[in-house]
Structures are given as C-alpha cells and as structure tokens.
Amino acid sequence: MVRVSKWVALLTVILFSLSIIAGCGGGGTPAPTAPVEEIKIGLIAPLTGDVKTFGESVKNAFELAIEESGHKVGDFNIKYVIADDRNVATEAVNVADKLITQDKVSAIVGSVTSSCTIPISEVAQAAGVVVISPTATNPKVTVDGGKRKDYIFRACFIDPFQGTVAARFALDELGAKTAAVLFDQGNDYTIGLKDYFKEAFVAGGGQVVAEEAYAKTDTDFSAVLTRIAQLKPDVLFLPDYYQKVSLIGKQARDKGITATFLGGDGWDSPEIDWTAMDGGYFTNHYSPEDPRPEVKEWVDKYTAKYGQTPDALATLAYDATKLLLAAIEKAGSKDPAAIRDAMASIEGFQAVSGSISFDENGNPIKSAVILQIKDGAQKFVTIVNP
C-alpha cells in the first residue's frame, strides 16, 4: 500500500509541475517588439589546441570585418557568438549544436579545418542553417556521396586543385621524379591532399616511392623516416598542419633526409619550425606580396590593427565574413533559406583573395599561389590559375 501511494504522490507532483509549465507558456508573456531587429552570426574556430594560430587569425579577421560593417547589415544589428572547437571533431559538433539550438544563429562562419567542418556541415544542413567555411578545403565539406549540401559554402579552393598544383609544381619546377608521402590516416584534409597529389604526380610521370600513414597522437616517426632515407626521394610531401609537419620535418632532417619538403595551406602559420622546414614549398590561397591594390589595402588595415601580416587564414576569414554579410544584405532577411539563395547567386564578388563566384557545389573558382619557406620567412614563388 505504501509503495502505491508513493507512486501516486510522484505522479501528482509531475502532473502539477507540468501544469505550471504549461500555464506559463499559455499565460502569454507579451511578445517584445524590438525597435531594431537583430541577426545572430556564429563563428567556430580552433582558438586553442594544435592549430590555434589558425583560429586566432580567423577570429581577428572575422571581428575586423564585423567592426567595419559598423555591426550592421541591412536593417539588422549584428550580434555574434564565438565558439572554440579545439580542432576536435566531436567538440565542433557540440559547439555547432549549441550555436544552432541555444543561440539560434542564422548563419555560421567556420570551421577552419576540414575534419571539423565536415561534421559541422552535416549538423547545419539538417537544421537548415547557412555555413560558410573560410578555409576547409576537403571536397566533402559541401558535397557528400554526390549529394550537394545546399546550405554549405566556402571561401577557399578545394584539395583536388591544391594537390594537383603541388604535384605539377614538383614535376615541372623542381624536376622531381620520385616522391614520398606521409599522411594522417584519421584526417580528411591530409588524406584528400595525399590522394590528389599522388594521382597528379603519377599521371605526370612521377613515382611515389613511399606512402606512409600515422595517427594524430604519434610522435615517433623514426622507423618510417629511416626507411624513406634509404629510398632517397626527390620530394617529401607532408600534407598536414604546421605542428605535425614541423615535428616530422625535424626528425626527417635528423635522419639525414635531403628531399625538398612540399605541403599545402596547413603550413601557413608563424609557429612553423622555420629552421627545420627551410627550403620547403607549399600551396596557399594568397600572398601578402601580391601587387593588387585590394591586397595592399587589406594588409595595411590588418597590420595596423593586429601588428602582424595577415596570413591566408585571416584573409579567407575576412572574405568569408564579407561574403556572408553581402548575402544577408541581398536577402534582406534573417531566414537561413533566403540567405542561402542569395549566397548561391553571388557572382564576381571582389574579395581580397580574388574574385569569387560559386560553382554548383558551393566552391569558389580561384587561383592558388606557391610560397617558399626561406630564411625564417615566406617568399612568394608563383601564381597558378585553375
């Protein structure tokens, strides 16, 4: 008997509290009539962790772009929320969920790396929120299994292009015949870049003599590098982010490997090991030495505010934010579907990193530059058009 009455009591309490909640909802707190409407934008970037310099650059440029707009776009006041994904895919999903469900953002700028942006794109596509990634270069960000995720865009070129450019450069400019490749088997960015590099390098008559995988947590590369040292390849392709690349590069030189190092835009950081990576080349989105006036203006503006030359990540983040603001203005609405349509219809947008028009997959069509690490600085080498 006692047990039954306990259950009854519990049920009563539950029902009672439910009625209170329902009462509150129905009671009708007066709908606030805001004089000026507010649009919320989210930024997701790795502000800490293994690629934190990427996150810092992106955040700086994002804030600069918003500031320039006077915190206003069309009839809306801009309010933004910044979230840190630490370059961990699960964390990226968590913060994207939070931005969408709790902060109710209309659009998200981010994230920076492909391995974080791909899961974010799934979440945002399902929720119908616009995402523009400044820098995620893997094709799967906007298209998966042949299906276009129509809320997702980016401001950078994609890995097939970048990998191909690196392979062509190795063959034509460096005269390389053989290449060795090391890649992170758990990272979409490095796998993609490796695949496209290999394809183009072999198609151009080169030979890939070693293709070695490692895990993100690995720090000991001695076995693999000793093997590669025996094979004496002309180039060592390292398509990872600056931290890992620096560690591998250092150990490679320790093992007596003399090959030219080659990589992708993940190298673009002031924290790369300048000594170990000296003489290496990498593909990138822009060079501050580009003579176009909009580049000069941008470099001056950024340097004046943050005291350092903007890297490609900052530049792309600035372009991505500007693109998003332009789309919101054009849409005249904070409805994500309207912003998406406005974004897709943008053509010939004059961005710092070049003129941007989207192809049917939400990827901009633009050129790449090749930079060299030399004497503690990045030197502009050449521009490659698509």
Binding site: A223, R227, G256
Partner: protein
C-alpha cells in the same frame, strides 16, 4: 644490414622510454595490486616541468630533470593520499575506476588556460644534437642519453629494492599487507614512497621523451601510458625486469612493423603481441604462476 641495425636502434630508443614509464606501473602494481592509470599523466606533467625548466626558467637540463622528478614525486604521493588511500580496503575495482578518473582529471585540468594550456608546444632541445656514424649506423647523443639514463635508473631501482630497508619493506608489503604491518613495516609511508619513486621515474621518462620527440601537449600521456602499461603486463606485471623486457619488445614490435610491414599496422601488431602472450601465458613473459592467496 645497416638499415636493420638502424631500425633496431630506433626501436630501442622508443622501448627505453616506454620502460621508464612501465617501471612505475609495475612497482605500484607489485606492492598495492593497483594499476595506477594516472601514471601517463604524471609522465606528461614531468615533460612540461622539464620543458619549463630549460626554456622558461633557464636551468641546465640535468637540474630541470631533477626538479621535474621532485615535483612529480610530490604529485604521485598526493594522488595516492587523496584518491587511493581512502579506497585501500574497498573492492579493487573501485580503486581502478578512481585511477581512470584521476587520469582524465589531471589531463583536462592541466589543459586549462591557467595551468599548461591546451596548446601544443615545440620543445627546443637544451643541447646540440650530435650524430656518430659507426659502420654506417647513425647514433645520436639523444639516443645515448636515453640509454644511459635508463640503465642508471634500472640499476638504482634494483639496488633500492634489494639492498635497502625501504626495498625490504616494499618486498614484504608485496606479499601481505597485514603481516607486514605486524612485522613493524609502516604500510602507509612505504606505499606513499613507492608512488613517489614511480612518479619520479615517469618524470624522467617525460623529459627524455620531450627531448627525443620535441613536441608536447597535455594529452600526450595517454598513448605512451597505455603502451607502457601494456609493456608491464607483457613482461609480467609486478616484476621490474619484466617491465623492462616488455617495453623493449613493444618498442621493437612497433618500429619493426612500421619499417618492414606498414606504418598503418604498427599499433595493431604491438597490441596483438600482448593478446597472444596473455593467451599463452597469462602472467606475462617473466611471470610465475602463483597460487591464489587467501
């Protein structure tokens, strides 16, 4: 042949670093029958303190290692006092779960901004690398340093365990806590010191690891910790020579797999060896089958 020898040296370097961590696991297990999963995190703290020592505090590196050892010994004893001692007479699974909790707590706590921060740090080696070529095989002074340190640590540990009063107390404890107490052994103090010594060894391992593979971050302890634990089990947990042997086998297995088969399989093969040994000889390679104590 030179290629093979060079790979053997690579494996030796990795195995010896594992050995330094595995010794701590095995000592603690031998005495309190507890797998101290927080050991990998002590290793991480050791690496960071060493790094701060020779970069931020401008210490000569041997002093930095000493400071790391002292700080980690204190940390090890604190962990024992706060997390394990209250659970000493609780079912063993409780202490095991507490150990996993402590491990995650330390890694996440240290990654907070006011502690070490979540960023990767590049370690500038505190001395110039020197390479010697002996018959086509290259050996570096870092490898030599690791080798010498591990040998000294191992000899020191053997001396401690078999020649000192503390060692005698530790060995007595490893048989039976209650009898040891009746014989006048201070159980709490001995266990505390065991944790301290194990942690100091992990600190040396951490600093050497940071010098050999010059990049550190707050979650770096997890993988080497797991590998060293595996090594200790492989050799026969509770036995000091067993930890040493297990670590050397793990190091060679990993490097040889990467060198001659595929780098993708390295962890898989290393752990397969563990499973195989446990299936054939559950007490580990050097372990003796003991009758269950009542």
């Amino acid at each position: 042949m030179e290629y093979f020898l060079e790979q053997v040296i690579n494996g030796l370097q990795l195995g010896l670093v594992y050995a330094l961590i595995a010794l701590g696991y095995t000592m603690v297990y031998g005495i309190v029958r507890l797998i101290n999963f927080a050991h990998g995190e002590v290793f991480m703290v050791g690496a960071f303190v060493g790094y701060f020592g020779f970069t931020n505090w401008n210490m000569p590196w041997p002093l930095a290692i000493l400071v790391a050892m002292i700080i980690c010994a204190c940390l090890g004893m604190t962990i024992e006092r706060l997390a394990y001692r209250p659970l000493r007479y609780a079912p063993r699974i409780m202490a095991l779960i507490a150990a996993i909790g402590v491990s995650f707590f330390i890694a996440h706590f240290c990654s907070l901004k006011f502690m070490f921060g979540p960023n990767y740090r590049v370690v500038q080696r505190p001395f110039e690398e020197v390479y010697w070529s002996i018959g086509g095989v290259t050996i570096s002074n870092i490898q030599l340093l690791i080798f010498v340190t591990v040998v000294i640590m191992l000899l020191g540990l053997q001396y401690l365990v078999y020649r000192t009063r503390l060692g005698a107390a530790m060995r007595t404890l490893s048989y039976d806590h209650d009898t040891a107490r009746l014989m006048g052994v201070n159980v709490d103090r001995t266990i505390s010191l065991t944790f301290g010594i194990g942690a100091a060894l992990a600190a040396v391992g951490g600093v050497l690891y940071a010098i050999a593979y010059p990049q550190i971050f707050t979650f770096m302890g997890i993988m080497p910790g797991l590998k060293a634990f595996t090594a200790a089990v492989l050799g026969g947990i509770g036995l000091i020579p067993g930890a040493m042997l297990g670590a050397l086998i793990m190091g060679q297995a990993e490097v040889m797999t990467a060198a001659f088969i595929s780098s993708q399989l390295r962890d898989m093969i290393a752990f397969s060896i563990l499973i195989l040994v446990l299936l054939i000889k559950p007490t580990g390679i050097l372990g003796k089958t003991q009758p269950e104590k009542v």
